[in-house]
């Protein structure tokens, strides 16, 4: 039927583009596109809990870190581990864990979503906006854990020589999968329930829906793909360390989904290109430039944070609001 037809066509187009890009574009561009690909996975899944379900969360940097470390530790050989772990010897669990690329990613996703489940319990059971604070703290805790548990993570030295199995094609495929999965969720009873919770949680409960369950499903799904994104990041960059997974990562994703429109998956994809491209393009702000004669490192981020504030005050619906690029306008807004 129509759904499958459109699906196959889109998949073929995307795969074809990926193959051609990988073959013919120069490696710098391929690297940028790979990065964008990972961020697309992160953005569309972050959008699920924040935009579609309306639960303000700051979780990505934590789950991305988890995914990155799990994948790295699964991919590194024992020789590598023994060589790299300087601060203390690798623990037996670390030496035992090993798998190939795809299973490593899936395991990363599953571990992340299970941790999300344990966070969901204290947070979603209670009224109030504690998700943001708890996830913010969670990101910190993960970093503290990564820095302190040398026998598991090699502390602040991080891990390197991670097998580079991620390339534009594999990243692109995962990006495609994550977009399809998220859209399939949104266009189902689960997506409707999530949007209902966003619109009016009490009324949603009054319709018999177990809002705790739905919020937890959304949160776990976001965590799953963020874990996979982290694993891809580890394999793409081949080195990881605790400092890479700071709040800055979450902030970038936040700007992306706000710009694209909270709740819009296509908006998130387009905004990923815009924001990552913009961050590169505006690098000049940190150097002496047209506007100022001296270097002001940090000006770029000042501009971006101002941008977020301005978008929220004046254009909080972002580019697409909560709709997709193909949604027809509602028939007749006014009556």
């Amino acid at each position: 039927m129509k759904y499958f037809r459109n699906l196959i066509i889109s998949i073929i187009l995307v795969l074809a583009t990926l193959f051609l890009a990988n073959k013919y574009l120069d490696s710098y561009l391929v690297m940028i596109l790979s990065n964008i690909g990972i961020f697309i996975i992160l953005a569309v899944s972050y959008n699920l809990i924040n935009g579609v379900t309306g639960q303000f969360s700051l979780e990505p940097n934590g789950f991305v870190a988890i995914g990155a470390y799990v994948t790295a530790l699964l991919l590194l050989s024992n020789d590598e581990k023994t060589m790299q772990f300087m601060l203390s010897d690798p623990s037996p669990l670390i030496l035992w864990m090993h798998s190939s690329f795809i299973p490593a990613l899936l395991i990363s996703g599953i571990v992340a979503s299970l941790i999300a489940l344990t966070l969901a319990f204290p947070v979603f059971r209670v009224r109030g906006d504690y998700l943001a604070i708890v996830t913010l703290g969670f990101g910190f805790i993960i970093r503290i854990f990564a820095i302190n548990q040398d026998s598991y993570t090699n502390g602040s030295m991080g891990l390197s020589n991670i097998p580079n199995e991620a390339n534009l094609i594999s990243i692109g495929v995962f990006a495609l999968i994550s977009v399809i999965v998220v859209l399939n969720i949104v266009y189902s009873k689960y997506g409707r329930a999530m949007k209902a919770i966003r619109d009016d949680e009490d009324a949603t409960n009054a319709m018999g829906i177990n809002t705790f369950k739905i919020k937890t499903i959304a949160f776990m799904t976001s965590a799953f793909f963020e874990g996979i994104g982290g694993g891809l990041m580890a394999s793409l960059l081949t080195t990881i360390s605790p400092e890479q997974f700071s709040f800055m990562l979450t902030f970038q994703l936040l700007i992306i989904i706000v710009l694209g429109g909270l709740g819009s998956t296509t908006g998130a994809i387009i905004a990923t290109f815009l924001v990552l491209g913009g961050m590169e393009a505006l690098r000049f702000l940190d150097e002496p430039n047209f506007f100022t004669n001296t270097a002001h490192p940090g000006l770029r981020m000042v501009v971006f944070s101002l941008l977020l504030i301005l978008i929220m005050i004046f254009a909080r619906k972002g580019l697409f609001g909560d709709r997709e690029i193909w949604d027809k306008k509602w028939f007749n807004f006014k009556m």
Binding site: N50, G54, Q55, F56, L58, F121, P122, V123, R125, V126, R127, G128, D129, Y130, A132, I133, V134, L136, G137, F138, F140, I141, I144, I147, N148, D202, F247, F251, L254, V258, L262, H296, P297, G298, L299, M301, V302, S305, L306, L308, I309, M312, I313, R316
Partner: protein, 294 residues
């Protein structure tokens, strides 16, 4: 042991001062003001610069308090109030708060060159004091006593004065207070003023105790102060103080008696938060603002 107690009182004071701002803003606006922790940083930096320039610490403190209060009030006026007036969904407010927080951090990062600064203060604070067989410095005593005086003042203000009682009323029923012709906007500004002033004091005290300041110093401390506020009962000023001291004591004593966990001391606040959400979400002082939602 006495040493630890005094250290804990000192640390707890700082958390308490900052936690009060979180709890008061949450009480009147139901908003977690993410930028609040950064106000503490603003206070510390303003004091730092003023003291470097004028060598008058009292002036430095004054400038810090005024500057931080203005920053806090501006945050409300420019970033939050427009959204509140538009009846924007809560999530927009929270995102904006994060934006302001990030903006302040990056602004000060840019202004001060991205490296931590050494915070100078009058040497009187380092003066050794002998109490009950323990050695501590004047700073710890001063901080603890000053904070308790401030706390009592705030509680008196909230419970005995006209403005304070009105602020408490807003926390319970925003719209009715508005309908009664009371200038709610003014009161909310007052809340931001008090909260920011206290946070800047907390920042100065923190800088005296740990004399290296950097633009991100407010983030972790702010997070912990918020956890303390929830622990004590979000919306309750006394609760914020109680939570702050409990957290201060916990951090000092756990590290003192379990040094192997020293690296995890920052996680203690997080575990308190999870614990209280699991077992008594309304916190120790337990105020449940059951606003009529139906």
């Amino acid at each position: 042991m006495i040493q630890q107690i005094l250290n804990a009182l000192s640390l707890g004071s700082m958390y308490a001062l900052i936690a009060i701002g979180y709890t008061m803003v949450y009480g009147v606006l139901r908003l977690i003001n993410f930028a609040h922790g950064d106000i503490m940083m603003v206070g510390a930096f303003l004091a730092f610069t003023t003291y470097s320039v004028t060598s008058s610490f009292s002036l430095a403190v004054l400038v810090a308090i005024i500057g931080a209060s203005i920053t806090g009030m501006l945050t409300y006026k420019i970033a939050y109030k427009p959204l509140l007036d538009k009846n924007a969904p809560k999530i927009s407010l929270l995102i904006t708060a994060i934006g302001v927080s990030f903006f302040l951090e990056n602004l000060f990062n840019m202004l001060y060159g991205g490296v931590p600064q050494a915070f100078n203060y009058p040497s009187i604070f380092d003066k050794e004091i002998h109490i009950l067989g323990a050695v501590t410095n004047f700073a710890s005593i001063f901080i603890a006593i000053f904070t308790i005086i401030v706390l009592i003042s705030v509680l008196i203000f909230l419970n005995k004065t006209k403005y304070g009682k009105a602020i408490k009323a807003i926390a319970f029923d925003f719209y009715t207070v508005k309908l009664m012709g009371i200038n709610v906007d003014f009161l909310i500004l007052l809340v931001f003023l008090i909260g920011s002033a206290l946070a800047s004091l907390g920042g100065i005290f923190y800088a005296i105790s740990y004399p290296s300041i950097d633009p991100l110093m407010g983030v972790l401390v702010g997070l912990k102060a918020f956890a303390a506020a929830v622990l004590g009962g979000i919306g309750s000023v006394a609760g914020a103080a109680i939570g702050g001291f409990i957290l201060g004591f916990s951090e000092i004593f756990i590290v003192a008696y379990f040094p192997e966990f020293a690296g995890y001391k920052d996680a203690i606040a997080f575990f308190f938060l999870i614990f209280i959400l699991l077992f008594k979400p309304t916190g120790i002082m337990g105020i449940d603002f059951e606003r009529s939602r139906f």
